[in-house]
Symmetry: C2
Subunit: 207 residues, 2 copies
Amino acid sequence: KLPPPTVKRLSLYLRAFEGLDHRGVTHISSKGLSEILEIPDTQIRKGLSFIGKTGRRGKGYPVRDLIQRIREILGLKSYIPIILVGVGNLGTALLASKLMKQRGFRIVGAFDVDVSKIGKKFCDVRIQDDSKIPEFVKEYGIKLAILTTPGEAAQHTAEILVSAGISGILNFTPENLSVPPYVKVHNVDFTIEMEFLNYLVNSEDLE
Amino acid sequence: KLPPPTVKRLSLYLRAFEGLDHRGVTHISSKGLSEILEIPDTQIRKGLSFIGKTGRRGKGYPVRDLIQRIREILGLKSYIPIILVGVGNLGTALLASKLMKQRGFRIVGAFDVDVSKIGKKFCDVRIQDDSKIPEFVKEYGIKLAILTTPGEAAQHTAEILVSAGISGILNFTPENLSVPPYVKVHNVDFTIEMEFLNYLVNSEDLE
Ligand SMILES: NC(=O)c1ccc[n+]([C@@H]2O[C@H](COP(=O)([O-])OP(=O)(O)OC[C@H]3O[C@@H](n4cnc5c(N)ncnc54)[C@H](O)[C@@H]3O)[C@@H](O)[C@H]2O)c1
Ligand SMILES: NC(=O)c1ccc[n+]([C@@H]2O[C@H](COP(=O)([O-])OP(=O)(O)OC[C@H]3O[C@@H](n4cnc5c(N)ncnc54)[C@H](O)[C@@H]3O)[C@@H](O)[C@H]2O)c1
């Protein structure tokens, strides 16, 4: 299994390769990739050899080949149906985001407990009550869920998702979820990104 | 300068140490930390020796000492005033988030162009028009800004922030911002986190 930074870097390489493919570029050197991603040339070559790819002398890496290989490793398909629970400010922003759709993740179901929201349609998705989660997950074979409820509802909702058959939860709440070992939880915390930005700005000041 | 994964890992170590300090724990072994963070023991010891810290035999790492050292490296203070531009769904969720406040980042100014929002107060912050950004940034010495406008407004708004004196932008928009080299931009993209979760779930299925 690859370490998290490597997996996330592969996601970034994939975006770069897709951008090149979109512009009709068939091969790219590690130096060219290095300029696009602002990652050192050596690190790029190391990362790509890690997944069994080496550039062809004088030609570089074959773009479409790399796209296919990376998508394979990340388990990406052109259509991965997911659900979202907690249609508040954050949930709504994620529902509306085209970025996820472009990556193949389609939010096909959204759930809440607020009666003023249930039954309303948003971005082609009708909001349903949490009680509908088990039948929906079973019917559509959903494996992944986004959790954007308030912290106090997080554990309880996670348990509904787990017993419904969800295998992976993208957790935006501040709660550390308690789930069986076969369920993967990935916590998202923007403050880590804010601390990283703060570090960049501070270390610039110190130079 | 430390590589990004190392900086982000330091943020995670910091949270673990603060949690221990909160519970009155004065020392922790790398093994104990390894269990809390679910990161291998060896990686923890390597990461902490990187910042000049080694555990005391039989006692482990001194918690408060490490908290101070990591905060120093990350440039964290108990009060870092920041501003947010684009008070929509995502902006509102960030404004309301207690997590950032706990980390010392206080959103003290919020800006939008929607006349129905300007003048309204939200989470102790009064929303102002973008034209007020330069004077506000100057008056309060703001260095960091969160950008949560639609993609089409992103570059234009970034330029306002840069000329106002902002040194770092946490960019949530899908646009790649064009800024002078002394301005740091950190792009946040949840789809990278979604792809990582998808990878975890898929590689579990393959086992
Ligand atoms: N990851 C981060 O860095 C970050 C940033 C901001 C907010 N957050 C977190 O994201 C979550 C959502 O934030 P928000 O600002 O959108 O909150 P919000 O209050 O606007 O939205 C919460 C939504 O969840 C619904 N809800 C409540 N209980 C529910 C349940 N049992 N089942 C389904 N839905 C339920 C509410 O009706 C509401 O629609 C919070 O936990 C917040 O702390 C995280
Ligand atoms: N990083 C991610 O993974 C992710 C996820 C979801 C959304 N997003 C992005 O976050 C951004 C906000 O999303 P949202 O759903 O909150 O959108 P939204 O439409 O709800 O909010 C946008 C806000 O920006 C304001 N605005 C427009 N032009 C402005 C300007 N020139 N100056 C200041 N404010 C301005 C609008 O009036 C509105 O209040 C979008 O760019 C979206 O693509 C990113």
